[in-house]
Amino acid sequence: MIEATAAQLGLIACHVCELVSRPPARAAACACPRCGARLYSRKPDSIARTWALLMAAAILYLPANIAPVMITTSIFGTQRDTLLSGVAYLWTSGSWPLAVLVFVASILVPLLKLLALSYLAATAQRRSRVRQRQRTRLYRMLEYIGRWSMLDVFVVMVLVALVNVGALANIQAGAGAMWFGAVVVLTMLASMSFDPRLIWDRAKYRDG
């Protein structure tokens, strides 16, 4: 099996139409000859962007967990629920599977995503050759389950739309939902801006 990367061969795959082309050497920027999209061998400024988005997400992760996600107003009074208090409520009221699901989706996954992406970005920056396969698998998993984090936001959205009985009961989205949504979006953007090929770049250089 011939082991060679496109970059080594001077080829660039268009990230839109997947056409592999050979751009003129030392061209600062060139377009795909077929679809006209911008061509680049690696996502430009990938590590820095990932870091920036990760940091933003990490900062917003705190208010997302402290501020109330859902404000329930009923004749019995007003209740403000944060992500954790919602999980705690589900747990104490006996809905353990649901509690575990919400906990995993809303708290564990974003946190793991932040940590995992940080790890990936750090190792890619250091051009580490440690467990490159696992790191790639980790990246694929992150991409896959990242969208699940929006579960809580969807729940709040649906409840806000459904429960609106005037004075009897009313549910509003709290500021926490906004911060949480921002965290999820930012981590998704971060994982998108991370170029998994960077995991292998140095290794191939070394090996090759």
Partner: protein, 520 residues
Amino acid sequence: MFSLVWIVPLIAALIGGWLAWKAVSEKGPTFVIRFKTAEGIEAGKTKIKYKSVDVGAVESIELSRDRGVVLVHARMEKYAEDYLVKDSRFWVVRARVTGGNVQGLGTLLSGAHIGMDVGKSADATREFTGLEEQPIVTADVPGRHFILKSKTLGSFNAGSPVYFRKIAVGEVESYGLDGDGKGVTSRIFVRAPHDQYVNRETRFWEASGIDLKLDATGVSVETESLTSILVGGIAFQTRGDGKDTEPAAEDAKFRLFRNRVTALAYRDVVVMPFTLRFRESVRGLSIGAPVDFRGIVMGEVTDIRPQYENEETYMVVFANLYPERMASRQIGEPKRLKRGFSREQVIDELIETGMRAQLRTANLITGQRYVALDSFKDAKPDTVDWKESPPRFPTVPGTFTGVAENIAQITKKLSAVPFDDIGKDLKRGLETLDRTLKSVDKLAKRVGSEIAPEVRESLVALRSALATVERTVTEDAPLQQDARAALREVARAAASLRVLVEYLEQHPEALIRGKPEEKQ
């Protein structure tokens, strides 16, 4: 070199920093409220409300070290920091139904919350003692508090209405025993602008329940309102026109009268205390009993005490006399006083003319008694020693006592009679009599045995003598016959004499001329 993407975390950092700063700066102060019980209070949930606006929330609840009270740690909103002053009050709002109103119904569903009343003090504090009951009046309601003193509580309660001309203008805020336990002090609140009607001449009375009165005009029922029948209340009114008096100050003290009549009655300014010394029992005379002058109450009994003096026990009755009642108020001051007599001199004069105090029975069934002032023409002369304090008013024994005394005197005389000696004499006399009777008996026996036969003989002789007499005087006895013939002769002679006398009466000349010949 510098990527634009770094703006994103910068913005995130700014937002995060702003949120953090906001959270820290908006975090109000924490404070502690002590409650006897944490009933209805939940950590993290129970809100603190002022005028139904959330101004804080309970953060945690713990017991005090000695387990005596519950310490409720709460956090105030930033803007409400100034509300935590010394005289701010906290209480737990629960659903409450009293006779007059229903409060806190909303808490049935939403759970209790902590109510707050912001004080007016400027001293900030972080430690409060929660009220057990919701205060009736909050500090922001304009009006004035007044303090009412009474002997007993009466039938009102905290929250009972205060009426002025049958309009509810305030509430009874609280009540409690005096420090010495000798009376009850109630605090009432009269809302503005009605508080201006309370002045020095204002009288308060218990407007509780129904005042049923039976007098010469018939039966009259008086009450303030249906609510006051149920929950009691206090009413007030100002005596006179009250125009020239200033409104009473905050926390001014008033006496609480039992009813409207006593409240609006004339209040005696001049009080003359006297002592009345009675030798008789004062049973039936109670403190507060009237001192009555021919049907008009002139004073009242304030105290009764026995006193031992000069080897004699007196019942000393302390009484207050209200000399002003002697003078008709329409006339003004008594004329005597205008002439320069003092009240003491007037009383001296009255006593000189025979005025005395006497215990009388007001009710024969219950035995209640009162002190009557009246004139006794034959009373022993007496005077008041004004140097004594209080001076002694002369008394005479009561009417009942007079009778009793007479009986006592009779008894005394009776007991002076030497019944023992009389008895002995009587006994001796009876013995003598007995002896006499015995000798009489002996005599009689002797009469029976010795004298009786002789008597019989005498009787027989007597009978024969009588028979002789009888024989002599029977009709056909010769003596009888002779006597009868003789009498007949006498009768005839008398008839002839009568004829003669009659003839002589008609013809007195016949004595001289003789009887004329009858002409035929």
